[in-house]
Amino acid sequence: MSFPDPIAVFRTEAAELLEQIETGLLDLNHDLANKDQVDAVFRGLHTLKGSGAMFGFEALAAFTHHCESAFDQVRKGMVPATHDLVSAVLNATDHMRALIEVPAGDHDASSENLLSALRLAVEHAGNPDAKAAAKSETKPDLTHYRLHFSLPRNAMVNGTNPLPLLDELRDLGECIVEVDKHELPALDDLNPRDLYLSWTVDLKTTQPRSAIDDVFIFVMDEMELRLEVMGDEKVAVKTAEPIPEAQSSQAKTAEVASAPLRQDHAAPAKAVSQPIEAKQTKSNENVRVPAERLDELMDRVGELVIAQSRLSQLAGSSGDLQLRAVSEDVERLSGELRDTMMVLRMVPVAQLFGRFRRLVHDLAIETGKTIELITEGETTEVDKSVVERLADPLVHLVRNSCDHGLETPEERRAVGKDPVGRIYLSARQAAGEVIITIKDDGRGINRERVRAKAEASGIIAANTVLADQDLLQLIFQPGFSTAQQVTNLSGRGVGMDVVKRTIDALRGSIDVTSHNGSGSEISLAIPLTLAIIDGLLVRIGVGRYVIPLSAVEECLELSPEEDMRSRGRSFISLRDSLVPFIRLRDLFNTNTTPDPFQKVVVISTGAERVGLVVDQIIGDHQTVIKGMSKLHHDVATFSGATILGDGGVALILDVGHLVAAGQHQEAQLRAAG
């Protein structure tokens, strides 16, 4: 068994911790009073420091220590959380990354800068609230609690020894422990391993109530614990001060605290643990596997699928029934293996969405807008490679929304909108596709300006009649930008065409809706999995090609008569509607005589259809997509290649491109005719 490199283990873990810390900080920035986020950030920093020191990342541990201390003060209520403080620590996280990547590098100067910013933020946070600062200087109040607790009968069998618990209570302050034996039965009824004793504890402590909860943390759900506050007793120095305020706060404490601990403890704990819960699900209880190994496995599965289809062909043409039976078994198993493999490759889009919180935070600062990012459906799972490739397009879309979509707070107020602009990022699965939607409540896309811009840059001819969707889609054309001025963010008209290119490459589609004044919505529909598709294997001339089955609507026969009739035309009539079609024999210049009975495969992308004329339909084919080499990157007609059962190669037709070509051809013919 290979032993993992501890440094590598630490790096992976640290990356996750940093992500967790950043998420916590960003959440905290929205809700500075959120104690749970303060705790979460503190815990993250604390863990990072501890693990760092353990694995020899001394500089990281020392640096992180300062951030941890700052948050410790926030946690203890000595310093309030402020936006400045959060930003200072947020900036520090980038530095922590550097310290993890290059521990030996020269980081002193930037460390010092960041730390002085942090110190300043802590000071500023501490100062305006003079009362809080003063409070931290006075001695904390001594609270007198009376606890009654009993543990479950089987507590001791299950390893909970009451004695250490009592010791822990004693460590909290002045403590008187008295046992209660009244539930103890006589010897003939005694189960000697059960616990019958319970305890009454008088505790005078300066520690918070949570310290008592911590003692019982592992048995809290099964035990009975009553906790009364016997009244605060100020430390001698403070008793002299006649502050009426103190009395009222004392009464309040007593009122809250005298409720049974279980009730007032359990409810908030449940409520607050939810956000943490959701985040934790992402990374926990997982076996970490390097991505390359997953890809290797994917390749093996792909090869198996290919070998299996070869076996199926052989078995199909042989009369050997036993061979056929085995072949069918192998087919079923490799199908199942493929499905399992697919699931393995699925990762939640949360990974992807996570990074946008930081982006939006930075964008808000850069643009001076107030922006709230709302994410939804983070648990939606998508193929790993899809997530990776979606990152860039989504960055462009989110940037575009922040930069062009949302108005400034003043503009929003002027039109009666909430000054806080919102961007919604959501993901959901629908019928073999994952739909990722970026929505903003900004000004919407200005159609006039889109048209003017498109005409000016020669993308469309002046006064071209366009459907609304087509008009909106123009924003994805290369060289298009409606920004009045080039900004740092959305750039110079590069970006949005990248979106279209990437989504096309993913065999996905883009849908744009926009309402003037109330925002726009861009939906990306992407097939769930990429690496293996079900395809229709066809022959054109001597070459074989694969058409993704998901795009195939139907297959028709093209009789020689019809073929003759339709020469020079580019439409076939399909149940009262004309469908443009492409003779692939012509497109590929096969220079062979057509089969007497050619077939038309009707494919569609959403509302648009096109017929592809092929020589022969060979049948269903499960296809492992191999990317085209860089050399062939410009070949738009094909989206990849695959190896066939007999070892031959088939090219995979790019449906989106062909449909677009068909529609283009239709438009030209219409214009001509």
């Binding site: 004695l163 422990v177 046992v179 039965p185 006589a186 000697p192 391993r193 019958y196």
Partner: protein, 107 residues
């Protein structure tokens, strides 16, 4: 029973914890059923936990309701004394309990 007037001394010179407490429970119950008086000798330096104290307290209830006499051969010391203290058995201790565990007080 025939041996009703006899006294049994149980010498427990071993670890007296949860793991083995059932054996001691059986032994003690048997002794209390058979004898009119039982004295337990507990080693000062063997590990002891709450199950032992529960056992003895439970046996005291049994003894008092069945008219038997149960005593410790010597006052609690060492680990036993320690567990009594940590477990809050000595806080507000009644004269009877004090007499039983620590052999002090009257009666």
């Amino acid at each position: 029973m025939s041996s009703n007037e006899t006294v049994a001394v149980l010498s427990w010179d071993e670890s007296l914890t949860l793991r083995t407490i059932s054996n001691h429970c059986d032994e003690l119950l048997l002794a209390l059923n058979e004898k009119s008086a039982v004295a337990i000798d507990i080693s000062d330096d063997q590990p002891v936990d709450l199950t032992l104290i529960q056992l003895i307290e439970s046996a005291r209830i049994f003894a008092s309701t069945s008219g038997k006499k149960l005593t410790l051969l010597k006052p609690a010391a060492g680990h036993l004394r320690d567990v009594l203290e940590r477990g809050g058995f000595l806080q507000n201790i009644s004269p009877e309990d004090s007499n039983f565990w620590l052999h002090d007080g009257v009666k």
